[in-house]
């Protein structure tokens, strides 16, 4: 980072490296996006938007660091921006999810994946996101905190609450039909986004 100012113009090889790494994370971007917004078509739109933004900003990527973490930040911010424009509100499509998310054939799953996904989508967005990053994406709490721009303790708290809520819903069969358009949850995450944009880092508290 010492040579930040004098960093040479990116060579064709740099760009090729970047593109290769970007290509590798596209499937992960799709998985994260689908977990976030629930609709495969919108999720893929979000991924394309993310890829273009990442490509345009590739000079800001530090080679050797995690491309997946870096692009997840871009995807997350694009999602929040879209959500703020109400693009995703109440858009969870039951039929599509049932088709897409039924467990792969041949696997016996005691819990229906469609139920799990539906339950996931009823969580407040910031908890859903935290659980996706840690529980599905395999990020550490520290990495997830970096991606979300908040404290590690906040991530731990969100993951813990998300887990408790999912366990309750799945054990008791009380999955709401849809509450992805929960006003309170949206307000919370939009306020957090304001914080992120304003300060450039710390997102503040959970609840």
């Amino acid at each position: 980072m010492a040579d930040e100012k004098t960093r040479p113009k990116r060579t064709a090889a740099d760009k090729a490296d970047f593109k290769r790494e970007l290509t590798e994370v596209v499937p992960h971007l799709r998985a994260f996006a689908r977990g976030l917004c629930g609709r495969p078509d919108m999720a893929d739109d979000l991924v394309q938007e993310t890829m273009l933004k990442a490509w345009a900003a590739q000079e800001r990527f530090n080679p050797g660091t995690s491309m997946r973490a870096w692009t997840f930040v871009i995807l997350r911010n694009a999602y929040l921006t879209d959500m703020r424009r109400n693009r995703f509100r109440g858009d969870y499509d039951e039929g599509v999810a049932e088709r897409i998310l039924t467990a792969p054939a041949g696997q016996e799953e005691p819990i229906h994946l469609s139920d799990l996904h539906r339950a996931l989508l009823t969580l407040p967005p910031e908890r859903r996101e935290a659980l996706l990053l840690v529980g599905a994406g395999g990020f550490s709490y520290e990495e997830a905190a970096n991606i979300c721009g908040c404290a590690v303790g906040t991530i731990k708290s969100r993951v813990g609450r998300a887990r408790a809520a999912l366990t309750d819903m799945l054990n008791e069969g009380t999955i709401p039909q849809r509450s992805i358009d929960d006003d309170t949850a949206h307000r919370a995450i939009l306020e957090e986004l304001d914080g992120v944009v304003a300060s450039g880092s710390d997102g503040g508290d959970d609840d």
Partner: protein, 84 residues
């Protein structure tokens, strides 16, 4: 029902006192399902639209400064990836 080993009633209100979250003993049954949801998308063949987009990236490159003015991560580059 295989409600595993933790006490479901007392552990329910897991406030910040119980934010460890990673204790394998209290990993709920759906945990593997969550990973499976994610992995099932990761393992999907990449749709053509993404291959097309990747192929086009090199072409958009002819005007390299386009759109690079703002940082889409909204953070300083030094904030990211230092723990990766």
């Amino acid at each position: 029902m295989p409600s595993s080993d933790d006490s479901p009633e007392s552990g329910k209100k897991c406030e910040s006192s119980n934010d460890k979250g990673t204790n394998p003993a209290e990993t709920p049954a759906w945990t593997s399902g969550l990973k499976q949801l994610y992995d099932s998308v990761v393992d999907e063949p990449l749709p053509d639209q993404f291959k097309d987009l990747l192929a086009q990236l090199d072409e958009t490159d002819s005007n390299p400064e386009a759109g690079s003015a703002s940082d889409p991560t909204g953070k300083k580059p030094s904030d990211m990836g230092k723990k990766a």
